[in-house]
Symmetry: none
Subunit: 194 residues, 4 copies
DNA sequence: CATTAACCGAGACGGTACGTCGTGTCTTGTT
DNA sequence: AACAAGACACGACGTACCGTCTCGGTTAATG
């Protein structure tokens, strides 16, 4: 989020302070969930002045995002087997979304995203886009292989997979069964039978 | 949510106070979004003591839920045309989720749902269940008509429709195109071709 | 500063909280001087929410004023001996102004008075006026007795006494000798010899 | 306060930086009063690093003192007329103390003087002593002339003049009437009638 | 018909967190 | 060596809400 370029003379940013802040954030999210994270608490836990957080991040969401962006990563394999690749992708999405930390973050974060479009853009860029891109590539490979029609709406397929898991996790709190991935991929492939 | 049984001698609940609270809540949600609603603000706007809110609702989410549950209602038509009915349902869902008020509420509310399972249960019961039930009935009629196989996973179909719209509205902030409903229903019906 | 009149229904002001606040203020002034008093510190010491202080006093100066107004009290005796009464008054003023607590407060308080005219008015009304009035009465008795001319400027005499002590205490930090009162009164009486 | 001698190799003190700091201080005192002057603000206004201020002055009071010491200067004339000289001196004191800038500084500065004895010493040496010395000389000339007795307490007379004006300006906020100087000198001279 | 208790408005209270400002110390690179 | 720039930990500020609590009033069924 911040590069290491110089910015005129003066004391440089202290990488240790930033590290402690991010670690404290991770710990607090794990312990108390997104709502339980406060700048006050992070600063205290990190042994850092509250001002330092304000200096580098505009909002709580931004800190959490940077601290936890690593967890939002799913990659579709490239095995040559369309069904297998898509199922693996769907399973990855389901596992990530139902994992403890993710569940502790996303609902609260989503609320902030709705009010902070810059944060939302960062979230999409850092967390959503790479995963989606990986899924879309898998679909494009399937098209190349002739397993899906050329005019397939890859975005929509990705959204179907993500949407169902997202909805069940965050809204209906319905279980994400182990065979959900298979069922979804079955419908998607059948629905696009060439 | 509240019965009208007597409760000994003394004054009964003042329906006017409740009404003013709910109206103030609606107004505040519209003006400032879910996060902008506070018990303090509602009480002030409603000309009501803060205590009165505490007396009748356990949380801000509960007030908002009661004040706005009416907006969460989609019903699938019963025209005899499976595709038409499902498209109408999908369009209804999309329109509701993209409507101003809904967008102002759901992200914040979802954050509270994640921390308050009672509120989550109420939300599902009052807002989610009726809409889902209507969609499921439409699917059951399609099965009866022979348009969908008997072993169709109706829940999953409903979740596909809701999930895509939900995801795009709240997370990816992607546009919900006018032909989304058609595309979704096409995939679903093709994916279950008997 | 606040009377005990009703102000509509509701929980009444808690006299215990106010008492604890004022006591903590006195203690902090004694320990650390006026500049060492902070609302934060008072609240912590008094075991009180910071808000409670903000509710009842508009500024730190106002709290200190209420907590310590008792110390600003000098009364001229009425012995029938003009010189004796005035000397006693001057000695009282000198003793008060050189006393520990007073010295710890007044310079800092004076700085606030310069920026807060309401506070300044309260200070004059509560702390300055009664003492001055007592001195002026002594002068009027002297006039009645024929010890001072009828057209004497009583205010000026009071200000000479107070001014010298004030100046030495706060600005020049010069000692206030034990015979200062006698010398001052001598000059004043000689200067108005009838 | 600082000489221009060399001090080993390296860059010498930048007189321009000092000048800019003092000018910025004067401007800020005029605009916002003593309390409105901050090291941060001075540095920003002067286009100077905050460190530079710390290097040369130990406290805000010291900067203000150096920036504004010129305004604290009253000199008694030497006309040969005792009454006239003393009245002129008293008028000068009154005018200085009631002048805008002075009023903006002294109350706040006095608060700092009470806590910083070094600053207090500097203040007395630079601002108070010369003016007092001038007044005392006028009194000594009066004694030489036979207008005042030999054992007159010159310090006390100076303090009477300064004290009354000081008290009215800073504490009672009473007006300093145009004939105050005459009245004071009248009392003083009558009080020492030889 | 008087009692009486539930309900209501108002708001005081101890708190938590916010975002801002200033402080004094420090570090870095430039002149 | 002096300087600008500014990062850092810290402390205090004034504000906004929170959840709990205590009042005095109103009101309507019950005794």
């Amino acid at each position: 989020m911040n590069d290491q370029t110089r910015r005129g003379p003066g004391r440089r940013r202290d990488p240790d302070a930033r590290r402690r802040i991010l670690e404290a954030t991770v710990a607090l999210v794990a312990e108390r969930g997104y709502a339980g994270v406060t700048k006050e608490g992070v600063a205290a836990r990190a042994g850092v002045g509250r001002t330092t957080i304000y200096r580098w991040w505009p909002s709580k969401g931004a800190v959490v995002l940077e601290a936890l962006r690593g967890i939002f990563e799913v990659r579709a394999p490239d095995s040559g087997d369309t069904r297998g690749d898509l199922v693996a992708y769907a399973r990855g999405v389901a596992e990530t979304l139902t994992a403890t930390t993710y569940g502790a973050i996303v609902p609260g974060l989503a609320a902030d995203l709705a009010r902070d479009s810059e944060l939302a853009a960062d979230f999409r860029r850092l967390c959503v886009a790479p995963t989606r891109a990986s899924g879309i590539q898998a679909i494009q490979r399937a098209v190349a292989r002739g397993d899906l029609p050329e005019d397939v709406d890859a975005e929509l397929i990705i959204d179907i997979i993500g949407g169902v898991v997202f909805l069940r996790t965050l809204v209906t709190h319905a279980p994400v069964e182990s065979d959900l991935a298979d069922k979804l991929v079955e419908i998607i492939l059948s629905g696009h039978r060439v």
